[in-house]
Symmetry: C2
Subunit: 220 residues, 2 copies
DNA sequence: CAATCTATGCGATCCTGTTCGCACACATGC
DNA sequence: GCATGTGTGCGAACAGGATCGCATAGATTG
């Protein structure tokens, strides 16, 4: 087997925590991530060359692959951080008693606010999911699933309070919301939608799903 | 200005229709498309090298760029054909009098049947939309919009027959359906969903949107 | 026919993500 | 201290998509 496998974050049981090599590696990883983040922000993902990232991190390009499986992974790491941030942001201001629809809206707002500042994150993450046999693809999908899970959790709360039709498949609903939001963001990233139009579109989808498309007999 | 611009399909007014050069070009394009289609099918998009496509088409790799802007474009051409086929297939068996929900379901079935045979088409098309400054991205989005338009048209018919709540934004609904379907297909392409599970998921989304998420007072 | 323009084709080359083989540093076991 | 194993780094090389400059065949003009 090859020496180090970038997949695992090292630190085997046999190693002392102050192993010089591991410390060095950890510092390198930190420098790489910092360089990547800065360059993605400055030039965008595609224009941020791996060699440029490496240079800013003070190392050769190939060395990056000791710590990361692919360039996409660098972005996925950012995405994970940002998603965490969006969740914290949401949870901080979430009140479980508010109507479910509003809670969902708030969540998308939190997310949108952060994503709007990092145009690449959404789009390149989507791109990553189009390399089906790469491990990065699975990572992104897992992140997505976590977001979908949070949405489902909110919906679940709504059901418990009788806000929602008890028959609907909440996970399916969460997925639909999530993917619709992504669709809107792709349009935004491609310049077909302004940032606020994108937000409005997402809001519209939420309303749509909540109102229901079919004519509810007795509400027309 | 450069001589030939691959963007336009040549044939300027000044040229006779039997201009030998243009005929030759047309034949080359045909060979390229055939080679690309075959290799995409055999090996998948990523494994189908441009040099291999060129070889099978009987020309040098760089010559392809006389006729096409990028490798992605070769796929988009396939996608456009396939979409046309899906529409024809749908229209052939569509009966306007059937309930709207069923018509929508049928449409997705038509589409799904064709896409299931060409795993790359959906996924790589999505990837293409993640290169925001390329022209291919816009082409794919335009194709998507056409599909969304067709869905909206069906919904419109439903509204005319009183099947649907007159207040909903049909375009937004069409978009939501479309993007939810794409989301399911990405999962399918990544092996998280079997083909039939993917179809079921799409059906579920349609049902969901039609039933409506919010509790319709008087239906529980 | 000569001069010119245009559509097509080609090989060399570039760029960039990624892999490879080797070297070095540190840690561990004898 | 020496052999061995492991974590890290590097430069060279590879692969594949894209670009460039030049060549050629056919069309057009005079």
């Amino acid at each position: 087997m090859r020496a180090s496998d970038p997949a695992r974050t090292s630190t085997r049981a046999t190693h002392q925590p102050e192993d010089g090599r591991l410390l060095r590696g950890a510092r390198s990883r930190a420098r790489i991530r910092e360089a990547a983040r800065a360059l993605f922000q400055e030039r965008g993902f595609d224009a941020a060359t791996l060699r440029a990232i490496a240079a800013r991190a003070g190392m050769g390009a190939s060395s990056i692959y000791r710590h990361v499986q692919s360039k996409h992974e660098l972005l996925v790491l950012e995405l994970a951080d940002l998603q965490e941030e969006a969740w914290l942001d949401f949870r901080r201001q979430d009140v479980r008693a508010t109507p479910t629809r509003e809670r969902i809206q708030k969540f998308f707002q939190s997310q949108h606010e952060l994503l709007a500042r990092h145009p690449d994150l959404t789009v390149i993450a989507i791109r990553a999911t189009t390399y089906p046999d790469s491990r990065i693809s699975a990572r992104v999908l897992a992140l997505n699933d976590r977001t979908i899970g949070l949405l489902a959790e909110i919906l679940q709360g709504g059901r418990a309070q009788g806000d929602l039709d008890p028959r609907v498949d909440l996970l399916a609903a969460a997925r639909a919301l999530f993917h619709a939001a992504i669709g809107a963001r792709i349009s935004w990233a491609n310049g077909l939608l302004t940032e606020s139009a994108c937000r409005t579109a997402i809001e519209g989808t939420v309303e749509l799903l909540f109102r229901g498309l079919g004519r509810a007999e007795g509400s027309g």
